[in-house]
Amino acid sequence: MKSTVMKSDVIIIGSGPAGVNAARPLVAAGLRVTMLDVGHRPDPEVSVPEGGFASLRRGDGEQQRYFLGPKFEGIAFGHTGPGSQLTPPRQYLTRDVDRLTPLRSASFEPLESLAAGGLGVAWGGGSPPFVDADLEDFPYDRAELQPHYEAVARHVGISGEGGDLAPFFGSLDALQPAVRTDTHGESVLGRYRRRASTLNRQGLYVGRPWLAMLSRDIGSRRATSYLDMDFWTDRRGSVYRPWSTLELLEREEGFRYRDRRLALRFDASDAGVTVDTESIDTGERERHRARFLVIAAGALGTTRLVLRSLDLYDHPVPVVCNPHAYVAMLNLPTLGREVRSSRHSLAQGCFAYAPDGPDRAAVVGHLYTYRSLLTFKLIKDAPLSIRDGSAVFRRLAPHLAILIIQHADRPTTRKRCALVRGADGGRDVLEVEYELNARERRAVERTDRAILAGFRQLGCLPLRAVRPGHASSTHYAGSLPMSDDDRPLTTDRWARLRETTNVYIADGAAFPMLPSKGPTFSLMAHAHRVGRRVAEVAGA
């Protein structure tokens, strides 16, 4: 084992949204930070030229290279599952995951990433913050999280507006003006305004989404120019990606990024922390030392690392994800109308369903337009011949909306994972069992029906609901939950792993549950809070 000299104050494992946002306050406090990461980068062969979706399709003879991929990897024939939404330029984010971080499950099919930026590389940008009703199981409330939301929003750039969704989102001083919505969004919001009081009585509230998409420039990142290429490229940096923070951090003297390394285990004592890594290229082992360790390897990656380091094999811990569904809907009022091609690709609308009133936790989801993803992807799931499916979707795709509904998730005895020692010296395997109980299933179905009934009143005709399977929300959490109870394999209110004095969990593993809101913005705020705390404890 090669041993590196102890140079760091803090080691951070992982460069996703949590890792980089934990690093910022640490570096700002003058601490020496080393980030360990596998850190795969985009394939230059799949780079996307400058231009809008419509103009590239009309003019670029090379478009198959990035729309379908150089090896046609963008053409999928199987079921719609986790990762189905990844376009070829983003598919590198799953590289080596099966080989380096194996997982076994009959019912849980997650998407994990070892890329620089983690799953944040393909994040849809939805940024609804948690409010007190969402944080009931957490050891902190919104007021405590607020300064961290503000700090992250100033850096990341969150655009949106309050409107009828204000009770579900709270306020944010750093909020940028909302980005422009497209023809679908305008149609749904227009109809909602006319029927708001009726829909509100039914518990449905609709408004503009909060997105990690710039409506004003931040540094070298530019406000969106509505080119409709956000699923394919980050050329102007309008949508936040964690690697943009990584690039800024790498310019700082106190920060070192050590990629091509898989963290294997840590050993923590009051004197400090060591982390053993393996080169993914040569297999060479290294030992890194620091005073503190912040783990942000993604909830499942973090779970593997902690269980292995504590030698807790076959020891079940909880796991949660957001049960979710895509619902393809036909936006009837837009049929026969011209649909603007100048648009962004992310969510065009947002809804909150709160039948018990806006002061209770709501089911929050987003409305997308099926526009800049190609129509051939829809055909395989339609009960039509390819010719007729193609003919139908060519006519209807501009009027198709996709509603994404995700539900809150709490741990139960049927949602567990455990690390199993690898056979014959192979890699350890994370085994996951995940099942909703009958009460949860009924609640999900009942809520989905009520939401779709509301959208029918907004002119959207549901065509087909797709439940891509557990874990397909790509939101995972709950394995090392923050708790005020002093129990093993939990973290304290600062997300410090209770078995240690100096190991902190900056990602979703520390969330006790997942509210019904895309958690990435909240994860970044949580990570920022952890970073501040470690800086404080380190005496910086």
């Binding site: 419509a54 399709r57 009309r58 003019g59 670029d60 003879g61 478009q63 198959q64 729309f67 379908l68 090896k71 046609f72 990897e73 963008g74 053409i75 024939f77 199987g78 049929l335 026969g336 109308r337 011209e338 649909v339 190609l374 129509t375 051939f376 055909i379 395989k380 799931d381 339609a382 009960p383 039509l384 011949s385 390819i386 010719r387 007729d388 499916g389 193609s390 003919a391 139908v392 060519r394 006519r395 209807l396 501009p398």
Partner: protein, 145 residues
């Protein structure tokens, strides 16, 4: 990866290209279709698949009904995978963009076109199911012999 020879692939590309969009595929598009077969697993997975592909190469008019029937009976059949591949290539070919990026039309015309497609689809399914059963039965008889 497909083991079909380039003659069969070219023949398939011409039949499928014309079938999906009603446009004779250009040599460049045929080349792309062939290239896709080098990267994607489009090898027939069952004797039924092999038989269906042989029939459509021999009698191109059978593609529509067989495709329609397979959409219900076996949506992951190799024939459909090959047709999706062709549809994807066509959709990302700038010369064919007019077929995909149509200017909006009035509702009456839109609903009329959808009704025509729906009627055609219904006929194709009925014919296709009978045809598919015949192809499968014949394939089994041949194997028994």
């Amino acid at each position: 990866m497909s083991r079909l020879g380039s003659f069969e692939l070219d023949q398939e590309a011409r039949i499928f290209g014309e079938y999906v969009l009603g446009v004779e595929p250009s040599p460049a598009l045929i080349e792309r279709y062939r290239d896709a077969h080098h990267h994607l697993d489009l090898k027939p997975t069952s004797p039924d698949d092999i038989a269906v592909l042989a029939v459509v190469r021999e009698r191109p008019w059978t593609v529509a009904p067989l495709d329609a029937a397979l959409a219900w009976v076996r949506p992951r059949a190799t024939l459909r995978a090959k047709l999706i591949t062709m549809a994807a290539i066509q959709e990302t070919t700038p010369e064919l963009i007019e077929h995909f990026d149509r200017s909006p039309r009035g509702r009456v015309r839109l609903f009329g076109e959808l009704a025509t497609i729906g009627t055609r689809a219904a006929i194709d399914i009925v014919v296709g199911v009978v045809l598919l059963m015949t192809v499968v039965r014949r394939q089994k008889q041949v194997r028994r012999r």
